[in-house]
Symmetry: none
DNA sequence: GACTATGTATAACC
DNA sequence: GGTTATACATAGTC
């Protein structure tokens, strides 16, 4: 019988390199596992990004990483907008100032990155570019797609009924449809797109950029 | 003496709303705490982003979130660049010429529109924003999605077989397991994006965005 | 990489 | 929000 145990309560960097590396692997696995259970059990969306000492990157996310990061971008943009417009006169919008070349290029760059992410998301929903996805991610993707099919089938029935029914049924049909998009209500483009639309100040652009 | 215990091994969504919310808080705290200790003990950089059912966002990160996300962007960028079949000349690119404000606005506008379209595409593949689609279009969409599922199922089988490979494959398998998307097929969105990519790459993407 | 003694997280109760 | 019985994670050893 061996005296094997984690007796240390001290949270400090592990000195010995090799044992630090093995601990890294174990804890990473544990953390990702915990994150996964958390997301399932609480219906939450979770993303975890880890960089090891050896510069290697690992990531876990419950829906896709791109999805969560873009959702975060949206939130950050809202917050930035809220805090920037904190002045009492926030209703009185300034005349949209033209953006500097720097801001524009920054925006273009971010848009480009968002495009890349959106493209990847879209491709994967079509079953393309699946390289590098874990089994877990694939299952998640498949689940999402199957939910999508259900919505589409429902919608098809609605549309069929629409053709077969007098006009006064239209409203109900639309209501039903409105309920269909329950989870992602705010699917209006992206944070950065909005950014351009409202032509916000350079200050805000900088906020956007600290993704 | 009460029989209080977490006897459930089943990992499924908690039914009751209020208990799900309290569990969310507890688990979130636990996860963040664990992430923090992990980062200290292993000298790793960690970022965690959580969205609750109630749409609230929480985040934890060991250095700053911005630092980690920008580091991730850099990695993704490298991977995308690495897997793209680059023409030999492409390495010796021209000195990025600075673009006029006007051209940048135009580029941004195009990107924005592209973004909008991509967003809509993605949403529809998820069964959202189906308003205004004809029956024929819906059928087309469904067909595409079903093809996607087939690819994914095939891919899942591949990945499963991958896991069953002998030990010498383990290193790669571990990377897959860690959800590390090791190679990103860097298919740029479109001709326009490609064009912009070359124009912007050095000057803006690298400099401004730290991609 | 498996084992296991011990530490830690947490689900149901108050 | 505190407590506690149990499930789970993990550090050290083989």
């Amino acid at each position: 019988m061996v005296m094997t145990c984690p007796r240390r309560t001290k949270i400090e960097k592990i000195e010995h390199l090799s044992s630090r590396q093995v601990t890294f692997s174990k804890r990473r696995k544990g953390l990702f596992n915990k994150a996964g259970k958390f997301s399932v059990r609480c219906g939450a969306e979770i993303a975890v990004i880890v960089f090891s000492n050896t510069k290697k990157m690992y990531q876990f996310s419950s829906p896709s990483m791109e999805h969560i990061l873009s959702r975060r971008n949206r939130v950050m943009k809202e917050r930035a907008g809220g805090s920037v417009m904190e002045s009492p006169e926030k209703k009185s919008q300034h005349e949209a100032p033209s953006l500097s070349s720097d801001s524009l290029s920054a925006i273009a760059a971010v848009l480009q990155e968002e495009n890349r992410a959106l493209n990847l998301d879209g491709s994967r929903l079509k079953g393309l570019e699946l390289d590098g996805m874990s089994l877990r991610e694939l299952n998640e993707l498949e689940k999402q797609i199957r939910e999508g099919i259900e919505s589409i089938e429902k919608r098809k029935i609605d549309v069929e009924n629409y053709y077969q029914q007098p006009v006064y049924m239209l409203e109900d049909s639309d209501r039903l449809d409105g309920n269909t998009s329950n989870f992602f209500s705010g699917t209006s483009s992206s944070a950065i797109s909005d950014c351009i639309e409202s032509e916000l100040s350079k200050q805000f652009v900088d906020t956007c950029l600290h993704l």
